[in-house]
Amino acid sequence: MPPSAWLITFLVLPVITVSNLGKRYGRTVAVDDVSLEVYEGEIFGLIGPNGAGKTTTMECVEGNRVADKGNISVLGLDPQRDANTLRQRIGVQHQEAQLQKRIKVWEAVDLWRSLYPRVVDTDSLLERLGLEAKRNAWFMTLSGGQKQRLFIALALIHEPELVFLDELTTGLDPQARRAIWALVTGIRDRGTTVFLTTHLMEEAERLCDRVAIIEHGRIIELGTPDDLVQKHCPERSVVFTSDDANVAERLQGLGAVERGAANTATYIIRGAGDDFVTDVINVIAREGIRVRGFRTEMPTLEDVFLKLTGHGIRD
């Protein structure tokens, strides 16, 4: 176990503890058996395909849905019994929940402000989220990204210790998505714990300190994105371009050398482990091969997911 993991175990307190959570709708099992812990100050991601049980799990933890079985503790409180106290201390962004079409941005913010005893300065919050120019705009006139940013503003207005963000960037264009990612990282950097769900592996990889992969209502793997990739997909490849002759033969000792598309001057070498890239660089240097381009291809969470479940996340 690396030292950082020891620190997490002994020094950082879990703000969410879920054990053996189960929830069914009629005969459909939405959540079968979920146990997890979320630590203070981290971005924790629950990732999996649509229908895996992400939203149901999250809503049970928020206290907005009643679990059939299992125990949940959030900030030391019971989400059902202490619902009113908990609502003051958490912020929630629901998936696909809208606002009144003709409510103005400032009116929504003003309403939310009036509901909590302690609130942040809304002008600076709107400015931070890039909404100050939209203060008087009707909700229905906002773009998808602006709507999401408003929802984040509403979820943050009472300085919660913990925010829940459910499928935050679904349906957004890549630019808006990046803007939201920066905001979420900012939330964590200000000391708020973030619990999010996503079916976008790139999003999970960029944002999350730790992820839990959920499928068919069960957690099938849990850890930091790096650790999961190392554990399940240690293989990596080096792709480089060279006009030298006999490149393949000169690098034979490293393993199979493939020729890139259409017999161009591109070569691909596959291997595994932390030392592999260094080995390739050393051999190329020793052989004095002139290299025009050089890049490393690492597996991603997407590959981990594919390996663990046998199917892609969007299938």
Binding site: R87, H94, R102, L115
Partner: protein
Amino acid sequence: MQRRILQGFWKLTWLETKIFTREPMGFVGTLLVPLILFIVLGRAFGASRPVATPAVDIPFNPAILAAVLIALSAVQSLVAIISIYREGGILKRLRATPLSPVTIMGAQVVVKLVFTVVSLALVMLAGRRLFPGVMSVNVFSFTAATLLGTFSILSLGFVLASLVPTARFAQPIGAAVLYPMLAVSGLFYPVERLPRALQAVAFLFPTTHAVSLLQGVWNGSGWSAHWLDVAALLVLFGAFTALSTRVFRWE
């Protein structure tokens, strides 16, 4: 804590009032349709002699029709708003705040009652001008009776709003319940002369009691003579409210 709950309630009520006025169709439909109907029917049927005909043939009274229509359009609008809010996840979002369910729904009811008063005031003003000498009814009493009726029918609206599967069905389902209710309310035909079974059904509808109360107020027989109608409106309100808390869906 108490203060914050009230503050949230008034804020939401004021907000919903503003939002409602921003929707031209709902606004015009609520305020102008009953008014125009009142004026047209008043001219056609003679609002000048609403109580002149003997009680055998219930005098058709455009003012009472207008009051009942105002109440029904408030209910229609409530059902539509709740189903749209549910479909859009707005109810879910509000529910996840410290706002209580009673506050969220209460704000809608207050908005509907406010527009009921405004709409009724327009009808009364038009009546005073266009049919002088007829609108001698006690305005406060008539308004209070309309509000009580609306209040009671709105509770049925919450039950309807629970039954409506999607916003698309709000209008037809509302109409399917509200128009028959209007037909047997005693406004067009005396309830006593309906077949027995239909009478029993009419008795379960708040509109019937609202019409009876409004007719009493109009004729000057007063509230005390109609305490049964008042009691029925309150009992039905209690029953529908209890039912809707059981069947209401937030999402």
